[in-house]
């Protein structure tokens, strides 16, 4: 198309937009084409030529403002094979929330696969995503620019070469192997990060805490972020440092007022600490706030004892969720020994609701105990098992699962019942916990019991079993 045609077409278009005859504005060559046609036809024929010219003679021009995103990094694990993508998607669809979908991805990662990016991707704020997804977290957080960086060892000098998720994971690795080096890096560089990023980085000091961390953590009492200050206070408490500021002391004193000290036993007169009965909603709310703000060490000090003695004397079974709130405080600020002691006591009375709060602080053996207790406890504990994020994926074999009381009750709710009076429970926990062969066996067993073979509740179990079939 030449310039005259281009200009003629533009004039005709403008004329037609407002309305009127555009024949006189047409390029000379086009006028010739339509000259032989009767006048009423000419305008339509010019329209046809113009339309065809727009269709074939013009190409859309790339805008100057086009922004390309960096290439999506390949992850360290292979993507799920095509054949496993449909059961993976079905399992994702059946998950009720983002946490459930994350669990499906964790199961896949535990078996050596990552999701196809069109099926699932963690969002930039999904810090709990399996570490293998760190490059995608950084890609999500990155609006544009290059992302393919050759990552050296994380040092103060290379700090800015790392994107946030990759940096956090590298720092976590260093903290596990060389706690002092990780702390030194934080001292040098964390102050330059935004509050949320600073909080996530300083939280890494939860691993291998020691007295050597005290000066740095104490320096954070002046941090501009309240959340960082609170985290530092909790970490200090975990390594035996009581609060020094007046506000924290006042809170601990107020919380102590919600707890009654007494003696029990006819001979040994043991000291116990009983949560007082609350009389109003306001009291409940205030006590919950105080448990959230206070550290165990400060509370124990109000009663003149150490953490472990206080836990030993804590009277379990208090009303209004006292044990759960207490366990949350212990999980956040208690020392390792105190956490272990409380976990032991909670396990002994099978208070898994409170124990769930301690799970992030427990070792693998204690977590397994939690799982086994839940399985032995029956169907009422299924929601707790579904809520436990810290449990390792795909570790329980068939006997451990199908022999449990919980499973037997799930099965009993299916077998011999019709669709209308059958209750099918959320079986995601079984899908997540089972080994592949156990998952396969459970699917077989439940379908034999009467559950439809494609029942949606079997989705994660089926995906788990399919992962196993792939490897075998």
């Amino acid at each position: 198309m030449n310039e005259s045609e281009r200009s003629g077409l533009s004039n005709m278009r403008d004329c037609w937009i407002t309305g009127g005859a555009a024949a006189n504005l047409a390029p000379a060559g086009w006028k010739e084409i339509v000259a032989a046609a009767p006048p009423p036809d000419r305008e339509r024929l010019l329209l046809a030529i113009a339309g065809q010219a727009l269709d074939v003679a013009f190409r859309p021009v790339a805008p100057k403002t086009l922004v390309r995103r960096p290439a999506l990094p390949r992850l360290a694990l292979p993507a799920l094979p095509e054949g496993l993508r449909p059961p993976f998607r079905v399992a994702l669809r059946q998950a009720s929330d983002a946490r459930g979908r994350m669990r499906v991805a964790r199961l896949a990662a535990a078996r050596g696969f990552v999701a196809h990016p069109f099926d699932w991707m963690p969002t930039a704020s999904d810090l709990e995503a399996p570490p293998v997804y760190a490059p995608w977290l950084d890609w999500q957080a990155q609006g544009g620019g290059k992302i393919e960086r050759v990552l050296d060892e994380l040092k103060a000098e290379s700090w800015d070469d790392f994107y946030p998720a990759a940096r956090r994971i590298a720092l976590a690795d260093i903290r596990r192997s060389d706690p002092a080096k990780a702390r030194a890096l934080l001292e040098a560089k964390a102050g330059g990060e935004a509050a949320e990023a600073r909080l996530a980085l300083i939280a890494l000091l939860r691993v291998n805490p020691s007295a050597a961390d005290v000066p740095y953590l104490q320096s954070l009492s002046g941090d501009r972020s309240g959340k960082v200050k609170q985290l530092a206070a909790r970490l200090l408490a975990r390594i035996g440092q009581a609060a020094t500021d007046g506000e924290a002391s006042a809170d601990a004193t107020e919380l102590a007022g919600f707890i009654e000290q007494a003696r029990t036993g006819l001979v040994r007169r043991r000291i116990i600490y009983m949560p007082r009965e609350l009389k109003s909603q306001e009291q409940m709310q205030r006590r919950a706030e105080l448990f959230d703000n206070c550290q165990l060490i400060d509370l124990a000090a109000r009663f003149g004892v150490g953490e472990e003695d206080f836990i030993a004397g804590w009277q379990l079974g208090g009303k209004d969720g006292a044990d759960g709130a207490f366990a949350a405080m212990v999980a956040a600020s208690g020392g390792d020994a105190a956490v272990a002691r409380l976990a032991e006591r909670l396990l002994a009375v099978s208070d898994l609701g409170a124990l769930l709060r301690l799970l992030p602080r427990l070792d693998e053996t204690a977590r397994r105990s939690f799982t086994k207790t839940a399985l032995a406890g029956g169907i009422a504990l299924l929601p707790l098992l579904n809520a436990a994020d810290e449990i390792e994926a795909g570790m329980l074999d068939q006997d451990e699962l199908t022999g449990s009381r919980l499973y037997q009750e799930v099965r009993a709710a299916i077998v011999g019942r019709t669709e209308t009076d059958r209750r099918v429970f959320d079986l995601a926990a079984f899908g997540f916990l089972a080994t592949a062969s156990a998952a396969d066996a459970i699917v077989t067993d439940l379908t034999a019991a009467g559950l439809a073979s494609a029942d949606p509740s079997l989705a994660l179990l089926r995906f788990n079993a399919a992962l196993g079939n792939l490897k075998s």
């Binding site: 037609w16 937009i17 329209l47 339309g51 190409r59 999506l72 669809r93 990016p117 069109f118 494609a454």
Partner: protein
């Protein structure tokens, strides 16, 4: 619980359904028959371009089918039950339940028991259905002549009616130019509805539907793009009208103006192009139209050839028939013989014979070399041959997507030297912006590129 013939007889809505089902019990009608536990499913090549997917639960006699029939169960469901009762070995045991069967199972509500026999069960007889139509009496030659004469007369009347309708359309287009496209865009719904109604009266139903869809098409574009889109579309209509007047019996033009051939006409047309190949399902587009019909388009591409060859399986069914599941799975490949509707650039097709799904062991054909410098080269060829055509399927070479400052996505070829980029329709998933596309297939409608599928280092991408 397996089916028996008594149960099927009781479930059938009427004798006609049983008779129709009887004809579909031949194995050759079924592309796939599979089972797992009490679930039976199959794909039946019915009268539509897309196969019907049928699932039956022998446990509680639940069923579903993607056909638009308003009879429940439809003849396809009955036929599947019938095969399970009389030839259960035809069903291949399957380890995996297809996603579309799972979808149905996830959505369905069971009633907990076998459905009650239909009211007319007393007058249905499966034995009679098996006998089939026995009325073999030949038509009286005089009656046949009268019927054919009546048909010819009706065709002439239709043609005359269309001529009148197209005169009105011509005048209507001239009026829009005179009144201004700006005011047309503001009132396109009302104006198009009026002329579409006139065209329906004139029996130019295909053209009427196209005009009915025009306001919706304009709404998908930015306001500054609408006048040019309108000029393109009205220009195409002018060309189509003139072409039809010159050759009213041309099958392609007739299809664009009034109505399409039947499946039987295409299958018996010896001149219809037929291609046997391995076809990959690129994707489906299911849209409800203003005229109350649902347009169900399945796009296929032949594998292994030197240049891309596309096919479109197009069905229409009433929206009142409810939502239909997909007829194919995206990415599925199968060997099939397709018959194409006669056209200057044949695209719409029917499956004549389809074999089982085949492995993904062949790659896509290469994009035309010139598509790097001009990604719309294939569209130009098609427009030159049939300027009234709509969207063109295009296989694009290696490229990637980028976003402009208004949020629109654009596809651009690697190594593009002419600064061409195609605006992309819809909202593809965000990760695609970080995935170099080795090849992409989509539909170019003159304004937007509607991505169907792409190949990448992450495997096949479905949009």
């Amino acid at each position: 619980m397996a089916f028996d013939l008594k149960t099927i007889e009781a479930l059938a809505p009427d004798q006609a359904s049983l008779s129709s089902a009887s004809k579909l019990t031949k194995r050759s009608n079924w592309v796939r028959l599979e089972m797992r536990d009490a679930m039976l499913w199959g794909e039946c090549q019915g009268s539509g371009a897309n196969p019907y997917r049928v699932v039956v639960d022998a446990g509680d006699q639940g069923y579903t089918c993607t056909c638009p029939s308003r009879k429940f169960p439809c003849k396809h469901s009955l036929a599947l039950m019938w095969i399970s009762a009389t030839a259960p070995t035809e069903f291949a045991p399957s380890d995996q339940i297809p996603e579309w069967v799972n979808d149905w199972l996830g959505r369905r509500r069971k009633n907990g028991g076998a459905p009650a026999p239909t009211a007319g069960s007393a007058v249905k007889n499966i034995g009679e259905a098996e006998v089939g139509e026995v009325d073999g009496s030949a038509e009286d030659p005089a009656a046949a002549e009268r019927r054919e004469a009546a048909q010819r007369k009706r065709a002439e009347e239709t043609k005359a009616s269309i001529v009148v309708g197209l005169e009105e359309l011509d005048q209507w287009i001239a009026d829009q130019l005179r009144l201004g496209l700006s005011s047309f865009i503001d009132a396109s719904g009302e104006r198009c509805r009026r002329i579409a109604a006139r065209l329906v009266d004139a029996k130019a139903t295909a053209l009427a539907s196209r005009l009915d869809e025009l306001p919706g098409l304009l709404l998908t574009l930015r306001s500054e793009e609408r006048p040019e889109a309108l000029i393109r579309e009205l220009g195409k209509l002018v060309l189509l009208v003139r072409a039809w007047r010159a050759a009213p019996d041309d099958p392609e033009l007739k299809r664009f103006v009034s109505s399409s051939e039947t499946r039987e006409q295409i299958l018996t047309d010896a001149t219809a192009l037929r291609i046997t190949a391995t076809w990959e399902v690129l994707g489906e587009r299911i849209e409800t139209r203003k005229d109350g019909l649902v347009s169900h388009a399945t796009w296929l591409m032949a594998m292994g050839g030197l240049e891309p060859r596309f096919a479109l399986l197009q069905d229409y069914y009433p929206a009142s028939a409810g939502r239909r599941s997909q007829a194919f799975s995206a990415g599925e490949r199968f060997d099939a013989n397709l018959a194409f509707y006669p056209a200057r650039q044949p695209l719409r097709a029917l499956v004549v014979e389809r074999n089982n799904t085949v492995a993904l062991d062949t790659s896509w054909p290469a994009a035309a070399p010139e598509s790097v410098s001009d990604p719309l080269a294939a569209h130009i060829v098609r427009q030159d041959a049939a300027p009234w055509s709509g969207a063109t399927p295009i296989l694009l070479p290696a490229g990637s997507l980028a976003r402009d400052d208004r949020g629109t996505l654009w596809w651009q070829a690697d190594g593009d030297v002419n600064n061409i980029a195609l605006p992309v329709a819809g909202n593809p998933p965000e990760p695609v912006l970080g995935i170099p596309l080795e090849a992409s297939v989509g539909l170019w409608d003159g304004a937007r590129f509607d991505l169907l599928a792409a190949r990448s280092a992450f495997g096949r991408l479905d949009f």
